[in-house]
């Protein structure tokens, strides 16, 4: 009975747990890592977590992608197309942020000779 309850809970919330787990890991990396490249990787993981959450909100169990690729597909079993379109936008913006952050990291390395945020005085907190 008890294990049944846990499985039921996981069945309902596993995607949310995964999404917020990724957000948590990303924020943790951003806050405690010293290396700027690792901080940027954390930013990417956080981005992935948020995207996963948005996709999950529109998901339906046993649902198909919202594409009428062959006749006989039931519109009632399709997942919500709106979060998918929004996540497409979000992924592209994530790429733009990542590229800009990497260019700033290159610039910082050229100026200070290090990517360690503890050694750069203006970046210490």
């Amino acid at each position: 009975m008890d294990s049944n309850l846990i499985i039921n809970f996981l069945d309902n919330y596993i995607y949310y747990i995964g999404a917020f787990g990724l957000v948590f890991i990303g924020l943790l990396i951003i806050l405690i890592k010293k290396n700027l490249i690792k901080v940027i990787i954390g930013l990417g993981i956080l981005d992935t977590g948020v995207n996963l959450f948005l996709i999950t909100v529109g998901y339906i169990k046993q649902g198909t992608a919202p594409i009428f690729s062959k006749p006989g597909l039931d519109p009632a079993t399709m997942v919500d197309p709106v979060p998918q379109a929004l996540v497409l936008t979000s992924i592209v913006i994530g790429v733009a942020i990542l590229a800009l952050a990497l260019s700033l990291a290159i610039r910082l390395y050229r100026h200070y000779g290090t990517l360690n945020l503890r050694r750069i005085k203006e970046q210490r907190w």
Binding site: L27, G58, P81
Partner: protein, 228 residues
């Protein structure tokens, strides 16, 4: 101390967000907006891929903003990395990779380009579209840079493509504004769904976006490789 404070802060933040959002049921029914798009998407836009019809038709203006963000990021990257001094002796030290990598890249390059074109030409019929196809095409150019370290490609064709792609998007939108009274109005015949020449202006815009994103990402990679 730092780490403990950080973890405590994060637990509070994530628990707060989770408790607020856990009320959204998983496996719920689709909302009204999504339901409308799925029910009437093919009739109204002619595209069998509903996500494409949302991205380019119902929220096309949003996509124009998204393309602009990518464009500004690429410009910002070039501006941040610009040193003002051209590396003149860069062409001398081209170091080819091993024979296997070189031959493999030469073999794969046209196939990857072809696949990228396939992905964005069929954006309104199958999964994929301009952004995905553009990313595939940019990955083919990464292979070229990997096969011969230090090789410089001329970025002029990429810049021309990028500008043309953006121009086509805005022009198609403005023609729609002139004919139908709204930006990105679908003024071409919708055709038969599930055929290549259907969905009016959607394939035209997605091809333009594919060229634009592909050349933009290639430019980003070129900038980053040149500076490293």
């Amino acid at each position: 101390m730092r780490i403990i404070v950080s973890i405590f802060l994060l637990v509070v933040i994530v628990l707060g967000i989770t408790l607020a959002l856990i009320a959204i049921p998983f496996d719920g029914s689709i909302g009204q907006v999504g339901g409308h798009y799925i029910e009437n998407g093919i009739k109204e836009t002619g595209a069998t891929n509903i996500v494409t019809s949302v991205v380019l038709e119902y929220r096309g203006f949003d996509t124009l903003g998204e393309v602009t963000i990518l464009f500004i990021a690429a410009i910002g990257l070039g501006a941040v990395l610009a040193t003002g001094t051209k590396n003149k002796n860069g062409s001398k030290n081209i170091t080819p990779a091993s024979l296997i990598v070189y031959t493999g890249c030469r073999f794969l390059f046209p196939l990857i380009i072809l696949f990228g074109f396939y992905v964005f030409v069929h954006g309104h019929l199958s999964p994929g579209g301009g952004f995905q196809g553009g990313a595939v095409i940019a990955s083919a150019f990464v292979l070229i840079y990997m096969a011969r370290r230090g090789r410089k490609l001329s970025m002029v064709p990429a810049k021309v493509m990028e500008s043309l792609g953006g121009l086509v998007f805005v022009l198609v939108g403005l023609i729609g504004l002139a004919i139908g009274g709204q930006f990105l109005y679908n003024f071409l015949p919708l055709g038969v769904p599930n055929t290549l020449l259907s969905a009016g202006i959607i394939p035209i815009i997605y091809i333009a976006i594919g060229f634009k994103v592909g050349s933009e990402l290639t430019g980003v990679i070129d900038n980053l490789i040149e500076e490293s």
